[in-house]
Subunit: 287 residues, 2 copies
Amino acid sequence: MIILSTVREIKQYIKDVKRQGKTIGFVPTMGFLHEGHLSLVKQSVEQCDVTVMSIFVNPLQFGPGEDFDRYPRDMKRDILLAEKSGVNILFNPDVKELYPSDPSVTVKAVERTDVLCGASRPGHFDGVVTVLSILFNLIDPDKSFFGQKDAQQVAVVEGLAGSLHFPTEIISVKTIREDDGLAKSSRNVYLSKDERHEAPVIYQALQKGAAVYLEKGRVAAIEHVKDELSAVSGEIDYIEILTYPELKVPSESDTRLILAAAVRFERARLIDNIIFTTEEESVCTEQ
Amino acid sequence: MIILSTVREIKQYIKDVKRQGKTIGFVPTMGFLHEGHLSLVKQSVEQCDVTVMSIFVNPLQFGPGEDFDRYPRDMKRDILLAEKSGVNILFNPDVKELYPSDPSVTVKAVERTDVLCGASRPGHFDGVVTVLSILFNLIDPDKSFFGQKDAQQVAVVEGLAGSLHFPTEIISVKTIREDDGLAKSSRNVYLSKDERHEAPVIYQALQKGAAVYLEKGRVAAIEHVKDELSAVSGEIDYIEILTYPELKVPSESDTRLILAAAVRFERARLIDNIIFTTEEESVCTEQ
């Protein structure tokens, strides 16, 4: 595995890979890798000749008062995990490499952002699509891999690639979970022992909520999830059922939906979701 | 010359050109070609293996009440001129090809836009950088050619390529003028006979203004241009001296400056500029 940290180096390396006619798979991360990230690498290794992983904690996607400074970092461990999982190029730039000065042009997500996580994190997805535009331009990937756990991010990134015609295919990979169902997340390390014990309730509540949806509709399903989540000490940030990937309030004819929730614990805000289709009078979850 | 109008076709064609290891020069236009555009093609043909010209009147960069509908179009003539000047691929997409639906992600020029033309055309440069991001993604040019007549556009586009790390070199080409000094522009056809007779005063005033700058400073220079322009029937939109390409009010240590003016005639708003350096106690215009 080659570790690169400058724009000059990554551009040269990508040029060489392209010249050899090889396909590039790209796994963008903020590091502190877990099995979720490694499942993205696995998909990339299976589908592409060369896998590039970026590790970059992007200041642009953290709001004031958010956890940029204390976002968990462990580069030594990340390097071992990335290499072991089959990453060929690890791109780990300084902030000054990607943003040598304040950007005079930025990218703005104008849809799919005023609901779910976007509602309480104004500007967050603008930061995401700006850094991804830069990384797409530097790495020129044939395919880019994202975790379905961050379902709104996937929806916004599909919008980015579609609207601006970035020549990369966006691949969504199903959420990797702990044995008890908790979605893997870098932020799980900030849960107290008690919170960690409660946290699997989130996914259980979503599963039950999706079943309630078909029988009793949207309001009852959201209410059901709310009741289930009353068992945890964390504060509910949102529970929502929307069309996917458009993230609009569904009408009866909409069949592909997301049921998503966010819960704010003492030191970590956790999110999870289920994407399901309501065709043929049954609920089929995609993950 | 090959004429392509779909995203699918241009992507395939560019892929083939890249596979042959050829370099691509890109000349983005809104059509109604004149010698200014053809001078960009000339540079591209000299510097690159394959020259792609786009003709696309971009609705996103016209504000409400601006001249999108009556922007001059003459595709037959454009095709003849493009072919004759050495264009290899003419890309002429419908609006629906580049924007199949309202973009859910757009690009925003956050600096260099609140002065000169940007001050009276809010959102204009956002439309410019959005369509150029799309075209850069589709055409993947090694070099992209822009006319220095639209100096603010060049400054913003340099910001776009720099901030988002688009892998294309931005080449600025000097303004082509009529024999009497009037900068070539697609909008010149909307001048009345009297207005066309007056219009060369704009460039003359800018030349004199740059000379006045060194002797008497910024305020006197702007005042001088204003006096000169009082001879034309059009209304002055702005006269400004700024640093280039940052477009900030200059301090004494700034040596690379732009003197720019816009004049609103009955049916056409004309712009022109001089970029000059003040080193060694003399004014050297770059065009």
